[in-house]
Point group: C2
């Protein structure tokens, strides 16, 4: 399937600066965590107006996830007392494409530096994209999850 | 900044089959659109349990966006009567990394085929990741947007 497609390669637009240095299996350790996203200074102008949004979507590269083996089934949140489920029915970081997606509160923008709360990306994670969080487009009122 | 980082390359896990064949500047043409996501059959097992979720997040490659020039400022939703704003304060498809993120309703899963509603990806877009939409993690109750 991939043969018919154009090559897809990524470049970092910035990097995460966080106190989270290694993978944690704990619960929601990231919820109150304040991190910085340092965007390449050549892109500062592309951040103009972002501060009008209270929340942003961060796409980042989960650079510490093992690249070599991607499981088809995983234990939900690492809990072995639950039945395994498909990788794509989970948020496990062990994915064919190691793209993490986080919705975080934007506390402040200082030029090319974004101070955010609730980012579950580890320190030094390459940042791939910043998108404004748009209620209604990014949110669902009646979503169902098991 | 990119020099210190490991190479990041993507592989398609599937492809979008949609009636949307070319870029539209119209409004919310995609809201009622039903599309299919065909995941590589070697990954069918990784989809198990996804049908327990009403909505999923689709990361895809915006393969028809021009790769050569990425603007720093754009007109919001193409409207030239509004002031320009930074690219990262918009959802313009012309991004340094052409990753689209859509939250869609999962109507049905048949083996490796997902039938979804509300996907704004064009036909033949490479699919990069499927994640379950988790209320509370992916949604924000008090988000503010201009």
């Amino acid at each position: 399937m991939a043969d018919e497609l154009p090559p897809m390669s990524l470049k970092a637009i910035g990097v995460v600066r966080s106190e989270a240095k290694e993978i944690s299996t704990g619960g929601d350790w990231w919820q109150e965590l304040v991190s910085e996203i340092v965007i390449d200074s050549s892109l500062t102008e592309a951040l103009e107006g972002l501060e009008q949004y209270s929340h942003i979507i961060v796409l980042y590269w989960m650079h510490l996830s093992p690249a070599d083996k991607v499981p088809l089934k995983v234990w939900p949140r690492g809990r072995r007392d639950l039945p395994m489920r498909g990788l794509f029915a989970s948020r496990s970081p062990h994915r064919p494409n190691r793209i993490g997606k986080a919705t975080v509160r934007l506390l402040e923008r200082r030029e090319n530096i974004l101070r955010v709360k609730g980012l579950d990306a580890l320190d030094s994670s390459p940042v791939l994209d910043i998108k404004p969080y748009i209620p209604g487009y990014d949110s669902v009122d009646d979503a169902r999850a098991p």
